[in-house]
């Protein structure tokens, strides 16, 4: 089906292509503009000396077309903000076209990108009062990853524990339940309505353009779940004209490095195909993405199949007015492979554990997980000083598990009205006000049937006083469960940003909170042979978060961002072992812990003296204490280091990422604590890319040294995986 769609798109492209011969005596120059990593650059202005009025602009695929040009020698100039201008001379043929591909190098200026998440409005990165990490479209392309979580996982200070995202150690690991990080898709909340977790496969990577990671409490603008941070996945805008993109992936998993761990005779493979087509005019625009992927998995009983569709439309009835509709649907069917087999629970070959094999009692465990969202957004910029936005959204998740049999259908309906005013001169002042409502419901044999209603109002103002920018705001969240059990939480935040000769300093203090998910309140099941019982009386967990940061340009070759953070958490919701009145042990989510998470977050991006070389360094030191029991907080590693380097030479790029995670000192929820063989994470990824015209080929060797490790009990992290990704862009 997808192959047929690809041929149909190709045929359409051929039919709609301009008919040559319109200007027989002139010529045309066309080609692609890329950066040193091979990523296309949009909005590059192309002009020809002596040909006044003949100007071209590159599109999102980096393609430009300049003409008509008089035949003969001509000097072309390629210019874009933040890049060094490039000059090239060509001989324009008469009545013909010429292809010229150009690579632009970053200019000798420190760039300050615009972010839209930290203050719920657009602002320059160095005006945000909290730390923001960016995963740009260049990062996404260069790393050649397949899912959004793989892309986010390399951001400084971010660590995934078996799919559960942690920003500066926020969430720990609770089997994906109750994330303390809020996921947004184009600014719309997308955490599950029942478990409060995140379905990372809900948004196809192919529609993501960039990701903003806001660190620290963000509840003053976003409410529940933004206790530890916010991840905003921003999808691609739809360009004018007809465009297409196809991305094919194929690869293989390495076999276990030791024969005692072998579990199959053949080599496991993976593959996938995503096809996107879009058309845009000044009035309406639309895009559609279809995709599918298969993986044999790298462990026993680890196959997965996924199908996805995503679409986006935009209507621009007047300048400054835009109506956007978007949505996606993903069906993911996968075998459940964890936990691994411990001695005596499979053909263990005399070993204490077999990390590639499963417990024979878990044979046949399988889950089908369908999920999707629909969003409609109306935006209006009435003037340079006032804009408003209204949106509605529907998020639906549905999973069915076999062995053990379980299922749940959950919905989350949300709506928001927001206005931003910028009174006064320039950007001296800004005020954001909004109201937000949501309804979540679940029907499940694990959680029962319940509904929760939320209503919130928020506001934040910012004013420039001398060189400093001061901001203050708060949000009031009210919540009603099953028509009763009303509660309310106030989340204020204050911050200041001060540019100095020693960089731009930022200081903030804010309150974060997370309301218990319906699953945490009402779960009723068995785990580890024990009953897991509901706790309808759970209260919201809260935290005060403080941050002092400084962003410093390092000459003309780099940028250093350092932040000290300190979070005091109260009433944390954790799974707890307790006994009933008769003494029978059981598990229940309870408000028990007081915790303190503090540390240092460093991020360095540099382009050293070697032309074409760029490097990055991220380091997070985390001191996480459970104050109630005076012990290390579970599932929080102390050190997290990410190193990256990329080198570009003409159309060829090579690069590497190295990730070090210190050994996790304390775990909970393990069935056999004494036999837990955790080690530190030391994973090296290698990559290479080559571009020719619209075709981009990438080679990715993830975990190149086939380092065998786990982060959560009994769950093996991926082995060496070799992938080839071919991307064709029109």
């Amino acid at each position: 089906m997808t192959r047929a769609a690809g041929w149909a798109a190709l045929a359409l492209v051929c039919l709609l292509a301009p008919i040559p011969g319109a200007a027989q005596s002139t010529g045309v120059v066309s080609g692609t503009v890329t950066d040193t990593s091979g990523a296309p650059i949009a909005h590059v202005r192309v002009s020809a000396a002596g040909a006044a009025g003949v100007v071209g602009v590159s599109d999102v695929a980096g393609r430009y077309r300049l003409g008509p040009l008089a035949p003969g020698r001509v000097v072309l100039r390629f210019e874009r903000l933040a890049y060094r201008a490039a000059l090239d001379s060509v001989t324009v043929p008469a009545a013909d076209s010429l292809e010229l591909n150009v690579t632009l190098h970053a200019g000798r200026f420190a760039l300050v990108p615009v972010v839209v998440t930290a203050a719920k409005r657009s602002q320059l990165l160095d005006q945000a009062v909290t730390s923001v990490a960016l995963v740009t479209d260049s990062d996404l392309a260069r790393r050649a990853v397949n899912t959004v979580d793989e892309a986010v996982n390399k951001a400084p200070g971010v660590l995934f524990l078996n799919g559960q995202v942690n920003i500066r150690g926020s969430s720990g690991f609770v089997e994906g339940v109750g994330s303390r990080v809020l996921l947004l898709v184009d600014g719309v909340p997308a955490n599950e309505g029942d478990r409060g977790g995140i379905d990372w496969d809900m948004v196809p990577l192919d529609v993501a353009e960039r990701v903003e990671v806001v660190k620290g409490a963000g509840s003053s603008l976003y409410g529940s779940a933004a206790l530890g941070g916010i991840i905003n996945v921003l999808t691609r805008d739809i360009p004018v004209g007809l465009h297409g993109r196809a991305r094919a992936t194929g690869g293989a998993y390495a076999n276990p490095p030791n024969d005692l761990w072998r579990f199959r005779e053949s080599t496991g493979g993976l593959g996938g195909l995503d096809v996107t087509g879009s058309y845009g005019s000044d009035l309406v625009r639309g895009s559609l993405t279809l995709g599918g992927r298969h993986s044999d998995g790298y462990r026993e009983q680890d196959r997965s199949d996924q199908w996805e569709v995503a679409g986006k439309t935009a209507w621009i009835p007047a300048p400054g007015t835009r109506v956007t509709g978007s949505g996606s649907w993903t069906s993911h069917q996968y075998q459940v492979s964890s936990p691994w087999c411990e001695h005596g629970r499979c053909n263990d070959r005399g070993l204490a554990f077999q990390p590639f094999r499963i417990d024979v009692n878990d044979t046949g465990a399988y889950t089908r997980s369908d999920k999707g969202y629909l969003t409609a957004i109306v935006e209006r910029s009435a003037s340079a000083r006032f804009a408003w936005q209204a949106r509605g959204s529907w998020l639906r998740t549905h999973f069915t598990s076999v062995h053990p049999t379980a299922g749940a259908v959950a919905n989350r309906l949300g709506t928001e009205l927001r206005a931003t005013a910028r009174p006064g001169e320039g950007d001296a002042r800004a005020l954001t006000l909004g109201v937000e409502g949501a309804r979540s419901d679940v029907t499940s044999d694990l959680f029962g049937s319940h509904a929760q209603h939320e209503l919130a109002a928020y506001g934040e103002g910012e004013a420039r006083t001398g060189p400093a920018r001061l901001s203050a705001g708060a949000r009031l969240d009210a919540r009603a469960l099953d028509g009763a059990g009303f509660d309310a939480v106030l989340s204020p935040r204050v911050g200041v940003v001060l540019p100095t000769a020693a960089g731009t300093w930022r200081l903030s203090a804010g309150r974060g909170f997370r309301a218990p998910s319906l699953a945490e309140r009402f779960v009723s099941t068995t785990a580890f042979g024990l009953r897991v019982i509901p706790n309808p009386g759970l209260q919201s967990e809260t935290a005060w978060a403080f941050e002092l940061g400084d962003a410093t340009p390092l000459g003309s070759w780099g940028r250093l961002d350092a932040a000290l953070f300190w979070t005091e958490a109260r009433r944390l919701i954790e799974p707890t072992f307790s006994t009933d009145s008769f003494g029978v042990p059981r598990i229940q989510f309870q408000n028990v812990a007081r915790a303190r998470l503090r540390g240092l977050d460093l991020s360095l991006a540099a382009a050293p003296a070697i032309p074409g070389l760029t490097t990055t360094l991220g380091y997070t030191f985390l001191d996480a204490r459970d104050l109630a029991s005076d012990s290390v907080l579970a599932f929080r590693p102390k050190h997290l280091v990410t190193l990256g380097a990329d080198y570009a030479w003409r159309a060829l790029t090579v690069g590497a990422d190295f990730r070090y995670v210190s050994r996790i000192e304390r775990i909970i929820l393990a069935t056999n604590w004494a036999n837990d063989p955790r080690v530190a994470t030391q994973a090296l990824d290698l990559r290479a890319g080559w571009r020719r015209g619209p075709l981009l080929a990438r080679l990715l060797v993830a975990n190149a040294l086939n380092y065998i490790y786990n982060l959560t009990p009994g769950t093996l992290e991926p082995v060496r995986t070799v992938s080839v990704i071919l991307t064709w862009t029109y």
């Binding site: 340009p553 029978v584 070389l613 190295f658 004494a674």
Partner: protein, 188 residues
């Protein structure tokens, strides 16, 4: 989508802003590679003694008889004192016991325990079903216990004192199970 950028003036010279050399870049990559060459998990033979740093008891249980089809799980747990009533039946340690592997003729078990004296180390056979205080007398049964080496008719005493106490070995006899109600009659 906003993609604008702002230009800022190049920074004045900072001490930490020295341009890194080619050598330091190569050293950085080499250092990362060297770190990554370190060992990860490796095949580990099944231990026969308590692991290093472990606090609790370890031992080998030898199985006798066929595992009943109705088996939910078998655990080894420890009581500080022999339970005197049904209400004390759930005062065992560890609070979340690890089910024993039942595939072979014997199995090594490890129970994480706080320091102290334990008068009854016992194998508990659990029948399939939902365990509650009401169902416990019929779902749980004793299937063997650690015995005093000088008088095997008596229960053996185990002491945990900051480390692992090894060789708390005994037999689990599936053909000779004693339901909880045997200890706390009447039986239904």
């Amino acid at each position: 989508m906003e993609t604008a950028v702002k230009l800022t003036a190049p920074a004045r010279g900072l001490i930490i802003a020295r341009m890194p050399s080619r050598v330091s870049c190569v050293a950085l990559v080499a250092g990362a590679a060297a770190l990554a060459c370190n060992d990860g998990l490796r095949p580990t033979p099944q231990a026969t003694t308590c692991p290093a740093g472990f606090r609790g008891i370890c031992g080998t249980v030898t199985f006798r008889g066929a595992v009943p089809d109705s088996t939910q799980a078998v655990f080894v747990v420890a009581f500080a004192t022999f339970p005197r009533s049904l209400s004390e039946l759930f005062t065992f340690q560890p609070r979340v016991p690890t089910p024993l592997p039942l595939g072979g003729a014997s199995a090594l078990y490890t129970d994480t325990l706080p320091d102290g004296r334990y008068e009854w180390v016992v194998a508990v056979w659990e029948k399939q079903g939902v365990l509650t205080p009401q169902t416990a007398p019929t779902l749980l049964a004793e299937a063997g216990f650690f015995r005093d080496s000088s008088d095997t008719t008596k229960r053996g005493v185990v002491v945990v004192n900051g480390t692992g106490t090894d060789h708390v070995d005994f037999v689990i006899d599936f053909t000779n199970r004693h339901p909880v109600c045997t200890y706390f009659p009447p039986c239904p």
